[in-house]
């Protein structure tokens, strides 16, 4: 009986332990992202929080969704959507960030908001009326 329990009880305990560690890591990242949201980081806060979110998504995709143990075909499928997304974001921001382009200043749309003190932050920063 005890040998039967050892054979069948062990795998379940190992499951909880193995994936419990991943869960703890996810919760730790959640705690870090919430705590750092109250720190004045300026423009770096978006990068930090989206970076942490990206790391959490990576943990879920690789470990919970088992991409690490999947075939190459399945892994390719998983990144195709993200590849398309990168094209869409690049083309769209290529438009918006260059609408106020004067003689080759890349990113003048974002630069204008930070370079003009006293400027109304609620007005659009790319010359959109």
């Amino acid at each position: 009986m005890s040998e039967h329990r050892r054979r069948t009880g062990c795998p379940v305990a190992r499951l909880w332990l193995r994936y419990g560690c991943v869960w703890l890591l996810l919760m730790l990242l959640l705690g870090i992202t919430i705590t750092t949201s109250y720190v004045q980081l300026g423009g770096n806060s978006a990068i930090l929080h989206l970076g942490i979110a990206g790391l959490q998504v990576l943990l879920v995709w690789l470990l919970f969704m088992n991409l690490l143990g999947s075939s190459t075909l399945v892994r390719l499928c998983s990144i195709v959507g993200l590849f398309w997304l990168s094209i869409m974001f690049s083309l769209t921001f290529g438009d918006y960030l260059t609408r106020a382009w004067h003689g080759g200043a890349i990113g003048s749309c974002l630069g204008r908001a930070s370079m003009e003190p006293g400027r109304d932050e609620n007005a659009p920063s790319c010359g959109v009326q």
């Binding site: 869960w23 959640l30 919430i34 979110a53 997304l85």
Partner: protein, 210 residues
Amino acid sequence: MSDSSEILREPWSSVPRQREGVAFGVWIFLGTEVLFFGGLFLSYAVYRTLYPGAFRIASHETDIVYGSINTALLLTSSFVMTVALHASGLGRQRFLVFCLLLTAGLGLAFLAVKGLEYADDIGTRLVPGPGFALDPPATQLFFALYWVMTGIHAIHLAIGIALVGGLAALVLRGSIAPQSPAVEGTSLYWHFVDSIWIVLFALIYLPGRP
């Protein structure tokens, strides 16, 4: 051997091939979901770039307590769903059903907390349109995206809860074997909905806190 004959379906020639087919098919579907939510995320990114001040003001009005509780609930549900998937692999029927029901329960808890949050938001007039509470007009853009993105996510989650609950019922009744590839398909969908929320949380609740 009897397990394989229970699981194998047409047109598959073997169970491993069938499992591969399920994973492939579900990931193709999840790719379309990436396109769907990607459009909304792009809209958010463009408007946040155009109106950074207004988005900070608007984001500050969201309730980070509700958001954090919901994120913790979904992360926990993903953990339990993964354990359920491996229970399926071990053929542990009752344990699988327990984990599936727990996953669905955590999803329902998320929807309940979301409902409370929506009630608060309506009470504080954070619905775009006449009578909107906040001052720069562009804050309405943030909240328009908030309602649409979280609403559509909630619909996806409700579908996931129905799938997980239905799967639990089928396994409990013995209509499908615990090792069925349907468990992996459902699990992939659930984790994806969780991933979307992880990004939504960073976009909606975290900016504008200091």
